[in-house]
C-alpha cells in the first residue's frame, strides 16, 4: 500500500498527480474463496480487512451489488459516539469509538474523525433524571459523560433557544462523540483490504446461496457462481432478503431513514446536538452544511428516498431548537434503508445455517459500529464462534427473551 502523506502529495503534485495507484483493485471474481462477504459497505469491508489483518485469511471476496460504500455507509449522518446504556452495548460501541480514534493512521487514510462532542438535550426535570441515569450507566462503563446545566448547554451551542416549546432543562455530553467522513471510512477500508489481497467485486449481486446438509458452500451471483468455505452477510437494510435466500427468518423491519442537508455556511454549530423529545439531531459538516435528521419514515420501505411528513417534522424540530436557521435553505434530502430490530440492538454472529454468518439489524446507528463490527465479525468467522463482545447480540436472544433494549432504557432508539 503506497503511503499517503503530505510528502507524497507534494511529490505527486510536481508530477501532475500522474503516479497515484488505484485506491482499490477491481478484479474478476475467482471460482472459490475461503471467505465471501456479501455487501461492500463499511461493515463488510471492515470485516474483510480484519480477517486479513488479524486472522491471516487472504483469500477473501467482498461482493457488492452496486458500488462499494453506496448503501447506508454513504447515506448516514456520520455520527460516531458510544454513549450507550447497557454494558454490552457500551463495551461494543466504545471499542468501536476507540478504533475510530486511530483509524486514520491505521488505514493511512484520513477519515476526518472530529470529536466535537455529542450533546443530548433534556426538556424536563424528569428527562434530566433519565439522563443522569444514562450518564451514570456510561460512567460505570468507564466512558466519558457529563451532565450539563442549561447555561452550559447554551455556552456550547450559542444558537440554541433554551426557551423553545419544551424548554431545555439541561443535557449531557459525551465529549468523545462527534462526526467523521463516511465515504472515507468505506474507501479507507476498501483500500487497506484490497492491499491485503481482498477481492472487492462490485456490480455483483448475490441471487442465491448454495446450501447442502445445512451448510453453506457458495453463492450464485449475477457474475457467476462463487464457492466459499464461509460466507458472511452484511447488507444493511436488505438483511431480510438475504436471510430468506438462506431459508431463515430474521426479526428485522426495513425502513427509510431520512437525512437532509442545508446549504453550506460558515461554522455556527460546533457540537452534535440531539433531542429525544424534539425528535432531531443535527451537526455541521466540515463543508459547512447542516446535516440533520430524525426518526425513520413510519412504514416498511426499501425506497431510498424520503417523504414529506418526516421532512416537515424534522425541519420543524430543527427550527424549534434553532430559530436562527429559518432563512437557511434546505439543499437536499435523501434516505437510507435501515433494518430495525425489536430491541434496536444489532444482530451479529452465527445463523441457523452452518458457516453462514450475519451482521445486520444495525437500525439507525450502524455507521459508528463499523470498526468494531468488522473486527468482531472477523473473529467470529475465523473461529466459528461469536467474539466475546458480541455474544449477547446473537439471534438466540429473541427466543430466550434476553433482549438488549437500548431504546427503552435510554429513551433514544439507536
Amino acid at each position: 500500500m503506497n503511503g499517503y502523506s503530505f510528502l507524497s502529495v507534494v511529490r505527486q503534485a510536481l508530477n501532475g498527480h500522474k503516479g497515484w495507484p488505484v485506491v482499490w483493485r477491481s478484479p474478476e471474481p475467482k471460482k472459490n474463496y475461503d471467505v465471501v462477504i456479501v455487501g461492500a459497505g463499511g461493515h463488510g469491508l471492515a470485516t474483510a480487512y480484519y480477517l486479513a489483518k488479524n486472522h491471516f485469511i487472504k483469500n477473501i471476496a467482498v461482493l457488492e451489488k452496486g458500488w462499494l460504500g453506496g448503501g447506508n455507509t454513504g447515506r448516514n449522518t456520520q455520527i460516531t459516539r458510544s454513549n450507550y446504556f447497557w454494558p454490552q452495548s457500551a463495551a461494543f460501541f466504545d471499542h468501536s469509538l476507540k478504533l475510530y480514534e486511530h483509524l486514520g493512521q491505521e488505514l493511512n487514510f484520513n477519515v476526518m474523525l472530529s470529536q466535537r462532542g455529542m450533546l443530548t438535550l433534556a426538556h424536563s426535570l424528569h428527562e434530566l433524571e433519565g439522563m443522569r441515569r444514562w450518564a451514570n450507566a456510561i460512567k460505570i462503563n468507564d466512558i466519558d459523560a457529563e451532565v450539563l446545566t442549561p447555561i452550559e448547554v447554551k455556552k456550547l451551542v450559542p444558537l440554541i433557544d433554551l426557551n423553545c416549546r419544551f424548554p431545555i432543562r439541561g443535557g449531557f455530553i459525551q465529549h468523545r462523540g462527534g462526526i467523521s467522513r463516511h465515504d472515507a471510512v468505506a474507501w479507507g477500508y476498501a483500500r487497506a483490504a484490497s492491499a491485503y489481497g481482498v477481492d472487492i467485486i462490485q456490480q455483483c449481486e448475490v441471487t442465491a446461496f448454495n446450501i447442502s446438509s445445512g451448510r453453506v458452500t457458495g453463492v450464485h451471483t449475477t457474475r457467476g457462481t462463487i464457492g466459499a468455505d464461509k460466507i458472511s452477510i452484511a447488507v444493511a437494510g436488505h438483511t431480510s432478503e438475504l436471510a430468506r435466500m438462506a431459508d431463515f427468518r430474521v426479526p428485522v423491519t426495513s425502513m427509510a431513514l431520512q437525512a437532509m442537508v442545508s446549504e453550506p455556511i460558515k461554522p455556527c454549530l460546533n457540537t452534535v446536538v440531539m433531542s429525544p423529545i424534539i425528535h432531531m439531531y443535527a451537526s455541521q459538516s466540515d463543508r459547512g452544511e447542516l446535516v440533520f435528521g430524525g426518526g425513520a419514515d413510519l412504514y416498511n420501505s426499501y425506497a431510498q428516498r424520503g417523504g414529506i411528513p418526516l421532512l416537515q417534522e424534522n425541519i420543524a424540530a430543527l427550527l424549534e431548537l434553532f430559530p436562527a436557521f429559518s432563512r437557511l435553505r434546505l439543499m437536499r434530502q435523501w434516505a437510507g434503508i435501515v433494518d430495525i430490530t425489536p430491541d434496536t440492538s444489532p444482530l451479529m454472529g452465527l445463523t441457523p445455517v452452518q458457516n453462514l454468518y450475519i451482521s445486520g439489524g444495525w437500525g439507525t446507528g450502524g455507521y459508528k459500529a463499523i470498526p468494531a463490527g468488522g473486527e468482531t465479525m472477523a473473529y467470529t468467522i475465523a473461529n466459528d464462534q461469536p467474539h466475546p463482545l458480541i455474544e449477547d447480540f446473537g439471534l438466540e436472544r429473541f427466543e430466550s427473551g434476553a433482549l438488549i433494549d437500548e431504546g427503552a432504557a435510554s429513551g433514544v432508539a439507536h
Binding site: Y4, V9, R133, N136, I140, D183, A324, A402
Partner: protein
C-alpha cells in the same frame, strides 16, 4: 453623481426605465431599474467579478441568467439581516438592496485566498483523505471549516411569514415556457382543474429572452393573450414566482411560492396527472481557464440583452457546438456588441446561418475550439485552436483574440430533476448529447425542451398535444390547440464540449464546487469510476446547484476516460429540492406554541389564578406546584405533601386516560388485555392492573372499574392515554373482532378532581351530592355514580397517595366549578397539590410510576406480579413471553425500596446500584425515584435491583456521578404499609 449603468442599452428590454432603483454592491452605490434581477443590474453597471470560487478563490463573474447559476450566489440583506447564498440571477432587484460578495479577504477584488490558486496542484480531489492525519484531523479541522461555507448564517430576526397550503388538481403543469403555455391552453376546455406553476415572475420562459412569431403575432402579445385566457378560465390556476421543488410518491409535489413580498408559502399539491415542461439548461464548454469573469452561457448573454437591455460586454466572442448560439451572436451584434468571431466546433455549418453571419461581417471559425483565455482581473482575450482530424487534439493555435466577453454554448440538457425525483429513468440521446426522460412509474409526462425538443416549433406543438393528452388521462376530454410559429430554429449539435488540449487542472467542470478535469482524471486513475464514487470523491455536482451545469460534462469525461459509452456510465439520482428552499417555509407555522399545541386542563384558569407554576407533561401543561405566597419550588412541594397528609389536598388529574368499554364481551376483552383477572370483578368495584406488551414488558398500569355488568371504565396513565386506546382498538379489530365490545375514549369528556387526605370525606360530605361517601357505602376500590353540584358525577375510591382518596369525575366543562366549590368549602383545610407533590406522595407509598420505575425491560414479574399471574388461568397479552427463560431469570432487576444508610447522603434518581470496586464495578440496577420525604423526614427511594426481592435488608453500594455510598434495600412501601389510612 448619477450612477452610470454603462452597459445598459438605451431601448428595449422588459425593464421599466421610469422606475430607477438604487442599491449597493460591496458598499458601492449603484443603480438599476424595476424589472432587473440583481445580476442584470450588476452587469448593467459593468461589475464583472462578483465572487471568489469555493476552493481556489478565483475571480468569478455572472455565468447564467437562471437557476443554474454557480457563481453569483451572494449575500443579500433582506432589510432585517444578511441572507447568504442568494441566487442573484433570479432574485428581483428591489430598492435599497445591500449586496455583498461573501468571500474574498480582505475584498473580492484583492483576496489573499488566491494563495490556494497558486498552489492548486496540492489541493486536488480527495487530498484531505491523504494528508492531515497526524497528529489528528481535529488539529487541522478548524482552519478547513472556516474556509468552507458559502456565507454566514442569516443575521437578524427573520421577518418572513411562512404558511402551508394544500391543493388538489387534475393536472399540474410545471413550467410556463412555450410548451407549458401551449399545454395549459389546450387543457382549458377540458374542465379539468389545472394548475400552472412558473418559477419566474413572468410567463413565457425562453420567449422572454428571445421573441418569436407565434400564431402570426409577436410572442409578447401571444403570452399576454394566453395569460388572459388562462386567468379567465375558472378551472385554471396560474402561480408565478413559484418553484416546484420536490416530486414525491403518489404524485404529491411541493411548491415554494414567493409571490407575496415577505411571505413564503409552501404548497403540497396532489395531482392526478403531472406534465413537466421544465425546459432545458445550457451546458458550458470546458477549456483552459473557462471560469474567468466575462465568460457566460450564450443564451444567458442573449437574455441579458433582450430581457434586461444589458450588454454583457462591448466585445464578445461566441463559441458553440450547435446552431442555437448563432442567434445569440446576431442578437449581440444587432445590439451594438462587437463580435470578433464565432468559434464553432463543427466543420459543416448550414449555409443560411453562415450567410446571416456574413451579412453582419462576423467571421466564423469552424472546426475550432477555445484553447485558453487570458486576462488579469477580467477576460481580455481568448486563443482558438483547430480540432485535429481525429478530434483528440488541437492544431494551429491562433493569436489572442481580444474580447471582454465570451458566450459559450455546449447545447442543452433537459431539466430532469423533478422527473428523476419522481422515480423516472433517463437515457442518453446520442444525437443530442444529453439525457432525456425515458420511463417513470408515476403519472407524469414530459414535453418541450425537457423532453429534448429544443426547437420552439416542437415545444409548442408537442406541448399542446401533451397538455390535452394529460387532461384526457386524468379523465377529461379536450383536443390540442393549434399553435404554430414561423420562427425556425435548428440545432445540429456536435458532441464536443471538452477542448482536447490545455492544462487539465485549469479546465473547470464544476464551477461551484471548483472541480477541474484534472480532478476527474485523478479520480478515474484511482479507480473511482462509479458515478457515485466520482461524484463523492471529486464533489462534482454536490454543491448547492446539484450539478445543473456540471453533471453532464463530468459524465462525458468519465465515459471518455473509462472508454465506455456514456449511456453505460449511468447518471446520479436527483434529490429534492430542485432549488434550495428556506427551511422556515417547510416548517410553516409549526413553531413555538404551534410546534406541539399545549393541552390545557379544563380548570386551567383556576390554576393560573391560584399561583400554579406550569410545566410540560407530554403535551399537557399542568401545575408543577403552586407558588402560593411566592414560596419556592422545594417549599411548595413540601408544604403540599404535608397539607395532604395532615388534612386534605386537591389534585387536578384530568389528563388521566379514560376509556369506556361496553358490550357483552367487554369483560372478556379486558381479561385478555390485563395481567389481572377481570372477570371476578363485581359491578361497582375497582381493581388495579397491569397491561403488558406482547413481549411481556409493562406498558401501562392503572385501575379499571366495573360500572355495570357490561360496562367498564379503564384508567390509563396520562402519558399513555392515546397510545392505549389505539392499542386496544388494534387488538379488538385485528385479533378478536368476534368479541362484542365498543371501546371509546372519554379522556377529555371528564374532568378529574382528586380529593385525598384524612379530611377528604368530611369535606365531600359537605357538598351537594346524592352520593353516599361513607366508608360503608363507598369503600376503597369502589365506584359510585350520581350527581354532584347538580351535574353527573362518577366517584372512584382510588388512591395514588396512600391517603383516603376520592377521584371525582364530572363533565370537563364543570371541572372548574367543582374545584372552586370544594376549595371554598375546604377553606384552609384543603390545599391544591401539583404534579411533583403528587409524585412524591406516591413515592412515599411505594406505588409504581410506569416509565420512571419501570423501563422497556421490566416485565410483570419484576414488580411482584408473579402471584397474580399464577392465579390467573387464561391467556392475556404478553403472558407467553413471561414463560421464557430470560423472563424467569432469578437475577432480573426487581422493584425495591431504598434508603441511604447515612442520612446526609443525597440519594438521587438516576444513581446506579453497583457491585463493589474489587469485583469489577458493574451496574446492578438503578434508583428510579428518590426524594426527601417531608412526611418521614428522611431520604427514601425506589429502584430496580438485580435479585431485589431477596435482598431486602441488604446493604448495597450506589454510584452517582463518580461518588459512591451505601444504601439499605427495603420494601418499596414507606408510608402506611398496612393501608389503614387509605382504607379509612
Amino acid at each position: 453623481m448619477a450612477p452610470t449603468q454603462k452597459n445598459r442599452l438605451t431601448s428595449g428590454g422588459r425593464i421599466d426605465r421610469s422606475k430607477p432603483l438604487s442599491f449597493k454592491f460591496n458598499n458601492r452605490k449603484l443603480q438599476g431599474y424595476q424589472g432587473d434581477t440583481i445580476a442584470s443590474a450588476l452587469l448593467a453597471n459593468d461589475i464583472s467579478t462578483v465572487n471568489r470560487s469555493f476552493k481556489y478563490h478565483r475571480r468569478r463573474g455572472i455565468m447564467s441568467a437562471g437557476v443554474e447559476e454557480t457563481n453569483a450566489l451572494l449575500t443579500v440583506s433582506d432589510g432585517k439581516g444578511d441572507v447568504p447564498v442568494v441566487r442573484t440571477t433570479v432574485r428581483a432587484l428591489v430598492d435599497d438592496h445591500q449586496i455583498k460578495s461573501p468571500s474574498g479577504f480582505p475584498s473580492v477584488n484583492f483576496d489573499l485566498g488566491r494563495v490556494l490558486d497558486f498552489t492548486h496542484r496540492l489541493w486536488t480531489a480527495g487530498f484531505y483523505n491523504k494528508v492531515f492525519k497526524w497528529p489528528n484531523w481535529h488539529w487541522y479541522e478548524g482552519m478547513v471549516r472556516r474556509m468552507a461555507g458559502l456565507g454566514n448564517l442569516p443575521g437578524g430576526e427573520d421577518g418572513n411569514r411562512y404558511f402551508h397550503h394544500n391543493l388538489h388538481c387534475d393536472l399540474l403543469i410545471v413550467g410556463a415556457g412555450p410548451a407549458g403555455l401551449a399545454a395549459a391552453l389546450s387543457s382549458v376546455t377540458s374542465g379539468a382543474r389545472v394548475l400552472l406553476v412558473e418559477q419566474d415572475h413572468e410567463l413565457g420562459g425562453s420567449l422572454l429572452a428571445n421573441r418569436a412569431l407565434i400564431n402570426a403575432v409577436d410572442s409578447d402579445l401571444w403570452i399576454s393573450r394566453t395569460r388572459s385566457a388562462l386567468e379567465e378560465a375558472v378551472n385554471v390556476t396560474v402561480m408565478t414566482s413559484s418553484t416546484v421543488s420536490g416530486y414525491y410518491d403518489h404524485n404529491v409535489l411541493t411548491i415554494i411560492d414567493r409571490s407575496t413580498v415577505g411571505v413564503k408559502r409552501f404548497w403540497k399539491v396532489r395531482a392526478k396527472e403531472v406534465l413537466l415542461a421544465t425546459g432545458a439548461i445550457e451546458q458550458p464548454l470546458v477549456f483552459e481557464n473557462n471560469d474567468r469573469p466575462g465568460i457566460m452561457l450564450a443564451h444567458a448573454a442573449m437574455e441579458y440583452v433582450n430581457r434586461y437591455a444589458v450588454k454583457p460586454a462591448d466585445v464578445m466572442v461566441v463559441v458553440t457546438n450547435n446552431d442555437s448560439a448563432y442567434q445569440v451572436a446576431f442578437t449581440l451584434y444587432d445590439n451594438g456588441v462587437r463580435v470578433p468571431a464565432i468559434v464553432d466546433a463543427r466543420k459543416n455549418i448550414a449555409n443560411e446561418i453562415v450567410q446571416q453571419a456574413n451579412q453582419r461581417g462576423i467571421p466564423i471559425m469552424s472546426n475550432s475550439v477555445i484553447l485558453n483565455t487570458f486576462g488579469t482581473s477580467v477576460l481580455s482575450s481568448v486563443r482558438v485552436g483547430t480540432l485535429s482530424d481525429d478530434g483528440k487534439s488541437t492544431v494551429n493555435p491562433t493569436d489572442e483574440i481580444a474580447c471582454q466577453g465570451l458566450a459559450i454554448s455546449g447545447g442543452f440538457n433537459p431539466s430532469s430533476d423533478l422527473y428523476s425525483q419522481a422515480g423516472g429513468n433517463l437515457q442518453y440521446a446520442a444525437e443530442l448529447a444529453c439525457f432525456v426522460p425515458m420511463q417513470c412509474r408515476q403519472r407524469v409526462t414530459v414535453a418541450g425542451a425537457a423532453q429534448g425538443k429544443f426547437s420552439l416549433a416542437e415545444a409548442l406543438t408537442e406541448g399542446a398535444c401533451a397538455g390535452s393528452e394529460a387532461a384526457n388521462k386524468a379523465g377529461f376530454t379536450c383536443a390540442p390547440i393549434d399553435v404554430t410559429t414561423s420562427t425556425t430554429s435548428s440545432y445540429n449539435l456536435k458532441a464536443v464540449r471538452i477542448t482536447p488540449a490545455g492544462d487539465s487542472s485549469r479546465k473547470w467542470v464544476d464551477f461551484m464546487a471548483d472541480v477541474t478535469v484534472a480532478d476527474i482524471e485523478l479520480a478515474v486513475r484511482e479507480n473511482f469510476v462509479s458515478v457515485q464514487h466520482l461524484k463523492r470523491y471529486t464533489t462534482t455536482g454536490m454543491s448547492a446547484d446539484q450539478g445543473k451545469t456540471s453533471n453532464l460534462n463530468a459524465l462525458t469525461l468519465l465515459a471518455e476516460l473509462t472508454q465506455k459509452p456514456i449511456g453505460e456510465v449511468g447518471t446520479t439520482t436527483f434529490r429534492p429540492q430542485f432549488m434550495p428552499v428556506p427551511m422556515g417555509a417547510i416548517a410553516g407555522q409549526r413553531h413555538g406554541d404551534f410546534y406541539t399545541p399545549a393541552r390545557l386542563l379544563p380548570a386551567h384558569d383556576w390554576h393560573v389564578r391560584h399561583g400554579a407554576v406550569f410545566e410540560n407533561y407530554g403535551a399537557w401543561k399542568r401545575p408543577e406546584y403552586y407558588a402560593t405566597n411566592g414560596r419556592d419550588r422545594e417549599t411548595a412541594i413540601r408544604e403540599e405533601v404535608l397539607a395532604l397528609r395532615r388534612s386534605a389536598g386537591l389534585f387536578d388529574g384530568s389528563p388521566l386516560g379514560k376509556i369506556e368499554l361496553t358490550g357483552p364481551d367487554a369483560g372478556e376483552f379486558l381479561n385478555r388485555i390485563y395481567v389481572n383477572n377481570v372477570l371476578t370483578l363485581k359491578p361497582g368495584r375497582i381493581r388495579y392492573g397491569l397491561m403488558l406488551s406482547e413481549n411481556g414488558i409493562i406498558i401501562d398500569d392503572g385501575v379499571f372499574a366495573r360500572l355495570a355488568d357490561d360496562h367498564y371504565l379503564v384508567s390509563t396513565t396520562s402519558a399513555n392515554a392515546d397510545r392505549i386506546i389505539a392499542w386496544l382498538e388494534e387488538w379488538h379489530q385485528c385479533e378478536w373482532p368476534d368479541l362484542e365490545v365498543i371501546i371509546s375514549t372519554v379522556t377529555s369528556q371528564w374532568g378529574v378532581t382528586t380529593i385525598a387526605g384524612p379530611n377528604a370525606r368530611v369535606l365531600l360530605q359537605g357538598i351537594e351530592s346524592d352520593i353516599d361517601f361513607s366508608a360503608q357505602a363507598l369503600p376503597h376500590m369502589s365506584v359510585a355514580t350520581g350527581t354532584l353540584l347538580g351535574v353527573p358525577a362518577r366517584v372512584q375510591r382510588v388512591s395514588y397517595t396512600g391517603e383516603m382518596s376520592f377521584e371525582i369525575n364530572v363533565p370537563a366543562i364543570q371541572s372548574q366549578r367543582v374545584i372552586e366549590a370544594l376549595m371554598n368549602l375546604g377553606g384552609n383545610r384543603i390545599a391544591p397539590i401539583g404534579v411533583e407533590a403528587s409524585l412524591l406522595l406516591r413515592t412515599e407509598k411505594g406505588y409504581l410510576h410506569v416509565g420512571a420505575d419501570t423501563d422497556g425491560m421490566t416485565n410483570a414479574l419484576d414488580v411482584g406480579f408473579a402471584g397474580i399471574v399464577a392465579k390467573k388461568q387464561s391467556d392475556f397479552v404478553g403472558r407467553r413471553s413471561l414463560l421464557r427463560a430470560d423472563d424467569q431469570r432469578k437475577d432480573r432487576r426487581q422493584f425495591v425500596g431504598v434508603e441511604p444508610l447515612n442520612d446526609n447522603e443525597n440519594l438521587q434518581s438516576g444513581a446506579h446500584f453497583v457491585t463493589p470496586q474489587d469485583e469489577g464495578r458493574r451496574s446492578q440496577g438503578i434508583v428510579t425515584s428518590a426524594c426527601f420525604s417531608p412526611t418521614l423526614k428522611r431520604i427514601i427511594g425506589l429502584g430496580l435491583l438485580e435479585r431485589g426481592f431477596e435482598r431486602k435488608g441488604e446493604t448495597v453500594t450506589v454510584f452517582d456521578d463518580g461518588r459512591t455510598f451505601d444504601v439499605r434495600i427495603t420494601e418499596p412501601v414507606f408510608y402506611d404499609p398496612s393501608g389503614e389510612k387509605m382504607n379509612a
